[in-house]
Symmetry: C2
Subunit: 195 residues, 2 copies
Amino acid sequence: MIEFWFEFASTYSYPAALRIEKCAAETGHEIVWRPFLLGPIFREQGWDNSPFNIYAAKGNYMWRDLERICQAESLPFRRPTIFPQNGLLAARVACTDGNGGWLPDFVRAVYSANFADDRDISLPATVATCLTGHVADPEVVMQAASGGGAKARLRANTERAVELGIFGAPSFIVDGELFWGNDRLETALAWKQGD
Amino acid sequence: MIEFWFEFASTYSYPAALRIEKCAAETGHEIVWRPFLLGPIFREQGWDNSPFNIYAAKGNYMWRDLERICQAESLPFRRPTIFPQNGLLAARVACTDGNGGWLPDFVRAVYSANFADDRDISLPATVATCLTGHVADPEVVMQAASGGGAKARLRANTERAVELGIFGAPSFIVDGELFWGNDRLETALAWKQGD
């Protein structure tokens, strides 16, 4: 099992989300999808924005690095007009009950909307489009996303992330070991307890 | 050619410094050693300490991650009692004139003193020991390190680092492309202009 902790605004979560199923299949890991929010974690650190916006040199590097990674992975990439985007609604959708079957498709669709198609993922219309074709009735799921259950699950995930020592996304947990960053996906999947 | 930008206090520069010669030999790259100081760059960002000390979750993760990396690379590792250490004197030694022949040996010795042997690298005695066996007379080099030439070269390197968009260590530059982090060494060495 590999826990995949992701936040829809997170740049490096994009290649991770699009790679993880193929990579996990090769090593025989089951993926546990863990949507959470980085905003509350960043605010605890005194940041009211992405560190990539606060620290310009780091941000400049990140955009170029992400472009290189996407090119190497043959993933389409367009730098989003808005960064970071507000992924709250999409994260609540990902936390609705009974998301088992369609969640991976939805997650990939939201990341592609954000980082390949430069669409505003905070809009209900964008999120509904990301559900289309994957669920019987997107409107029913959108309704569920505004319910207390989805909100509580997302809050609990974010609190759990802090307890686990998570401070950024994507993060992976295998056998209790924490790995941070798209570039640690392979290392996480190769991890064996006792290493 | 690969430019290797390093700071003696930097944790992830330790495995990079101990790996780079073997890795660069395999790809036929000549290494240009670029000692610089992160302190002034961090202060520009409003940090008076390492971000690994300021942000506890990130620091906890880094120490565990570094331990795993060193284990995988069969590098000895002991968490330093003092972090970050003051690498100013060692960096000035690395900036003395005529350092061509012995610099790689000295750099490896300083990193090993810091991260394998938990010695205080701010002390002249430690730095002199790191020169022993690699230069004819360590005292002559120590004298040169306190001269204006070495100080000016180190200041110029740090200013150049900022101009190049460097914000952390280790950083690598190949064909004008910047790569940040020990985990990007292989990517940097594989880089071809026009990629």
